[in-house]
Symmetry: D2
C-alpha cells in the first residue's frame, strides 16, 4: 500500500483524498490545508491524520508520496521541497503561472530522480485516451488534423478569473496538453484569437478573453485547432477529433444520462452535458491515481511529466503573445 498524503483540501483536493482513500493499492496518509477547517473536515470524515504543515508531511516517515492540490502559487515550491525530501509527487496543473518560475524549478530538480507526475487528468479519460490509442494502433493511419473543443458550462466567479493567469494559462492549458498528447509531436507555430463575448466588462478589466480559438502546426505538417469558451449553456463541452489518412476518431460528450426524448416538435433529444469536471472526469481522476501508484510502485516513467507541464505553459505564453500582437508565433521564440 502506497501511503499518499494530500496537500490542499479545496474541491479538487477533497476529491483526490477520497480517491486515494478508496484506492485498492493506496492509502490516505493524511491531509493538510492552510485553512484548518478544510483539512479538519476531510481528516475527520475519512478518519485520517491531519498534518499541521506541508513541511510536516515532507518530513514524515509515514508518507510515501504526496499529491499537491494547493493553490497554484505554491506548486513549484512544494515540488522543490518534496523532491528534496525524496517524496514522489502528483501535482495538479499548472506548475506555475510564470514560465520563468517553471524553468527555474526544472533546473533545481534536474538532477533528482524522484518521480513527478503532472495532473493533466484528461489524458486518462476513456474517450480521449481511446482516440490516442486508435492513432497508436494505426486505426486512422497517419494523423493529419486534430480538433479540440473545450467549453466550460459557465464562467468562474470574478475573483477566480482575476487571479487565474488568464484563459490560456488557466483553461486552454488543458487543451494544449491534450493537443500534444493527441498529436504525439511538438508544436511549432501558434496563432490564437481572443474575444470578449461572454463577460466583456470583466474581460476588459482583466485584459483577458472568454472566447478563444487557436490554430497550431507541427514540423511534419499536422494541424491542430482548439475552440474554447468560458460559457456553454448546454453544459461542459469536451470533444476531441483526430483525422488521419486512414480514418477519424472522435471523443464525444457525456450527457447527464442516456435518456432520449421525443416530442411534438423534436426527436432524439439528450439531456444537458455532465456538469462539471468532477463528474465529467470522475473516471479519469480515479485512473490518474492508478497511473501514479503504478509509476511509483513499478518505477515506470510518469504518464505525464514535469516537462509536459512546462511545454503546455509555453504554448499558453505563445498564444497570449499571438493574440496580443495579432500574429503567428513560432515556439522557438519562447525557447
Amino acid at each position: 500500500m502506497l501511503r499518499i498524503a494530500v496537500l490542499g483540501c479545496g474541491r479538487i483536493g477533497r476529491m483526490h483524498a477520497e480517491n486515494v482513500n478508496s484506492h485498492q493499492r493506496a492509502q490516505l496518509a493524511g491531509v493538510f490545508d492552510v485553512i484548518k477547517e478544510a483539512s479538519s473536515s476531510v481528516a475527520q470524515k475519512l478518519g485520517v491524520r491531519e498534518f499541521d504543515s506541508a513541511e510536516e508531511i515532507f518530513a514524515s516517515a509515514d508518507v510515501d508520496a504526496v499529491l499537491i492540490a494547493t493553490s497554484t502559487a505554491t506548486h513549484a515550491d512544494f515540488i522543490e521541497q518534496a523532491v528534496a525530501a525524496g517524496k514522489p509527487i502528483l501535482c495538479e496543473k499548472p506548475i506555475d503561472l510564470s514560465l520563468a518560475r517553471v524553468r527555474a524549478c526544472a533546473a533545481k530538480i534536474a538532477v533528482s530522480d524522484v518521480p513527478i507526475m503532472l495532473g493533466f487528468v484528461r489524458r486518462f479519460d476513456t474517450g480521449h485516451s481511446a482516440v490516442r490509442r486508435a492513432i497508436e494502433s494505426g486505426q486512422i493511419g497517419d494523423l493529419h488534423q486534430v480538433t479540440i473543443v473545450s467549453r466550460d458550462p459557465d464562467i468562474a466567479p470574478d475573483a477566480y478569473i482575476e487571479v487565474s493567469g488568464g484563459i490560456f494559462r488557466d483553461m486552454t492549458i488543458h487543451d494544449f496538453d491534450m493537443a500534444r498528447f493527441i498529436l504525439g509531436e511538438e508544436i511549432e507555430t501558434v496563432t490564437a484569437t481572443g474575444s470578449r463575448l461572454v463577460s466583456p466588462a470583466l474581460m476588459d478589466r482583466c485584459d483577458d478573453w472568454d472566447t478563444v480559438s487557436v490554430l497550431m502546426t507541427t514540423a511534419s505538417g499536422k494541424h491542430c485547432v482548439i475552440s474554447n469558451s468560458r460559457r456553454a449553456v448546454y453544459g461542459y463541452d469536451q470533444r476531441v477529433e483526430a483525422f488521419g489518412s486512414g480514418g477519424m476518431a472522435l471523443s464525444e460528450n457525456h450527457a447527464e444520462s442516456h435518456m432520449r426524448l421525443y416530442g411534438s416538435k423534436f426527436t432524439d433529444q439528450a439531456p444537458p452535458l455532465q456538469n462539471f469536471f468532477i463528474e465529467r472526469y470522475g473516471q479519469a481522476f480515479a485512473a490518474e491515481i492508478d497511473a501514479f501508484v503504478d509509476c511509483v510502485e513499478q518505477g515506470t516513467p510518469p504518464a505525464v511529466g514535469f516537462d509536459d507541464g512546462e511545454k503546455a505553459l509555453a504554448l499558453a505564453e505563445a498564444a497570449l503573445l499571438s493574440v496580443r500582437e495579432g500574429r503567428t508565433v513560432r515556439m522557438e521564440e519562447l525557447a
Copy 2:
C-alpha cells in the same frame, strides 16, 4: 423504354406517375382515374395521354405494363383484366381486404406467367433493405429476434379509417410483409393485442384498434414483434431491428434534416421525423419502379410477388382473430 400506364391518380398514383415519367428506362404511357379531374390534371401536367377507362389501357398497343394505384376494391379485378390482356402489373397493396377474394384471384391467374409485382414499397428502403442484406451476408449470424416499430404521424380522417378494413389490413400489413422479408421464413403463430387509445370513439364505432402489438414465431424459433400506433406526435416512426447470433442490424428513423440543436436544457436534439410516407419512402418508391422495370425487361421474378400480398393479408386475418378471441392463432388455421 418500358411504356407504363398508371391507373389511379390520387396522391400515390400521382407520385407513381411522376416517378415513371422521370425514370431513365421507362415512359409514362398515360393515366386514368374514375375522377376525370384527377387524371386530366396529371395528364396535362406531365404531357401524357389521358385514358377514358381502365379497359382502354388494357387494350392499348401503346401500353407495355400497368401500375395499379386505384382504390383497393378494384385491385383484384384490374389484376385479372391486366393478366388477361398480358400486361405486366405493379399493384399497390393490398390486393383486396378479403382473403377469400385474394385467393379466388390467385386461382384465376394461376396459369398465367404475366409478371405481377406487389407494391410493398418498404422493402426498397435503403435502410430496411440494408438490414436484410446484413442478414443474407452473414454479418449478424443466425437471425433470432426481429422488432418492427411502425407508427403514423397522425390518424387518417374518419372516412378513411371507416373503409380501411381495419388497422391490421391497412397499416400492419406493411409490417407483416416487412416481418416476412426480414425473417426470410414463414410465420407459424400470431398473438396480437389491440387497444383504443388514440381515438377511442372512432375505434369503438369501427370495432377497430389504433394501437396494436403483435408477437409472432417461425418454425425455427425466430421471434418477431410489431408495434403500431395510428399517431406518433414526433412524426412517422419507421424502425426495423434484427438481432442474431453474430450481431444486430437496425434501420433507423429519418429526421427532417441532419441539424442538431443544443440549448440550456437539452443537447443533441434532432428535428421531427420525415412526414409522411411520400417523403420518407420517396427513395423507395423510385427504387420500386426500378425493380419493376428490371423484372419486366429481364424476365426475372418480381421482388415482391402476388403470394407475398396473400401471405401478408393472411397474417392480418390471423392478428384480427387473435385480438378478437384473446388467444394465439396458428397460421395453419387460416390455410
Copy 3:
C-alpha cells in the same frame, strides 16, 4: 451513520460491501458468508468485522440493517429472521424461485413494519429512471406502449443455468419489474414465446429457453413487450422505450467509451457495450444503497418493496405457463 451488515460475499455481495463502506451516511458493520474464505477476504480488505453466522448478525447490537446477497434459496429464511430481529432489509432479487414460498414468507412478515427493500437495481439507473420521470412529469403524455430489450453479453456457465430457476425467474424477472415500474399499472395478460437458439443442448437438458419474447397488456390497454437473449455478442444490451400520446422516451445503451471511429468501410462506430452488470449498473447499485439508507433513516416506504418481488415472480410464472401451454395467460389465474 447506518450500520449495515452484508450477508453473502460472492461477486454481488463484495460489490455491495464496498458500496456500503464508501457510502457517506452508511458504515459497513461486517460481513458473513458460508464460505469462510470469501467473508475473510472481504472483511480483511475493508477492515471490518467478519461474522460467523447470519444469526450472529441478526442478534448483533452493532448492526442496524442487513443487506442479503446470499444464494437465492436462503433469501426468504433470512428475510423472516431479519424481520423477527427487527433489522431493516435490502434483499437481492429474487425472494425465492417458488411463488408459494414467497407468499408464505409474505404471510409470515405481514404484521411487521420492518422496512424491506428488494434489489431491483435497474430502477435506479439514471437512464431508465429518467424514462419513468418523463412519464410522471407528463413529457410523453399518456403511456401507450413499452418495449424492453434485455440481453446478456453471454450465457452463464451450465452449472449456473441449471439451478437458475429458468430464464423467466432468473433473467426476465428484472424486465418484469422494469415493465411494472415503467407502466405504473398492473399487468393483466401475458403471452410469452421461448426458443433454444443460443445453447440448444443445455436448454433441452434444463427444459429452459435462451431466447424469449413476452407480450403483456394492462387493464387500461397499455402494451409492453420484452425481448431477451442469453447472448448478445456486442455486449450487455439494456434498453427501455416508452411511447405515449405526447412523445417517446428511450433509455439507451452504454458503450465502453464515448469514442467513435471512422474507417474506409464504416463511420460513427462505437465500442462494444459495457460488460457486465457490475459496470453497466455500477451507478445504480450505489444509488440503491442511497435509497435504502433514505428509507431506513427517514422512515419512507422502500422504493421497491417485497410485493414488487412477489409480483415480478408471478409474472415469471405466468410467462412460463404461457410458453409451456402456447397460450395467453391472465394474471388472475395465478392469484
Copy 4:
C-alpha cells in the same frame, strides 16, 4: 414556366439540366456544350433543343434565363454576355480564378439589374440552412464560434488539380461562402496553414496544399475555423457547427443509409458517408433551382449574389497569401 437554357453538359451541367427539366415551374429551353457529343446526348435524352453556341442561347427569344455550368475560365465572359442580352443568370462557382477578372466583370455589369445568382449550392442544404435559421431565429443566442469541416472522399485526378487554381479557390471557396453565410458578418482577418499530406508529390509540383486549416475573425469578435482535406477515406465529410451564447447548432454528415450495425467488436456502426457532392447535395441542387426561379419570377434579390462570389474569392486569395507568408492577413489588404 421559366424557360432556362443550360450551358455546359459536364457532370454538373447534366444534373442541372435534369433538375430544370423536372422542375414544376421551369422548363429546359435547351443545352449547349463545346463538346458536341456532350450536348447532343443530354438534348436527346431529355428531348430538348441543342444549341450550337452560347451566343445562340443569349440571342434566343425562347430562352428566359441561363444556367452557366461551363468551365470556370468562361464564366465571367458568359456572365457579361448574358447580362448584355438581359438574361437572368445562375452561374456555377467560382466566377473566375482571378480576383482582378472578377472585379473587372463586376465593374462591367454594375449598372445592370439583370439578376445574377451564384451557385454556392451548400447554402440550400437542409442541414446547413437549418443552422442558419437557428441563428436567425435566436435559438442559439449571439453567435460566437463557427467550425466548418469539409473533406472530399478522394483527391481529384492530377489533371483537374493542376488547373483547379489551388485548394483555396477550388475547394475551400465553398467553405468561405459557408462561413460568410453562417457568420452573417464580414470577415476581417484570415490565418491559414497548408500541408502536403495526401499527395505530396503532386502538391509540390503544383505548389498547392491538400490539407488546410483556416482561422478567421470578424469585427464583432466572432471566430470561424475551416478544416479541409482532399481525402477522407470514410467519405464526403461535410459539417457545420455554430456555437452561441444560447446554444449550439450542428449540421451533421449524411451516411449512405440509416442502417446501424452491431458486431462482436463494435456497436452502432453507420455505413460510409454519401459519396459524392451530386448525391450529398442532390436536395440542395434542386432547391437552388427553386430559389433561382423564385428570384427571376418574383423579382426578389438572389439568395447568393455576384458579390458573394467575389467575397469568397477574396478570402481564398487572403488564405493563399497567409500560407505563403506564414502570417495573419487582414482583408483590407486585398481591398
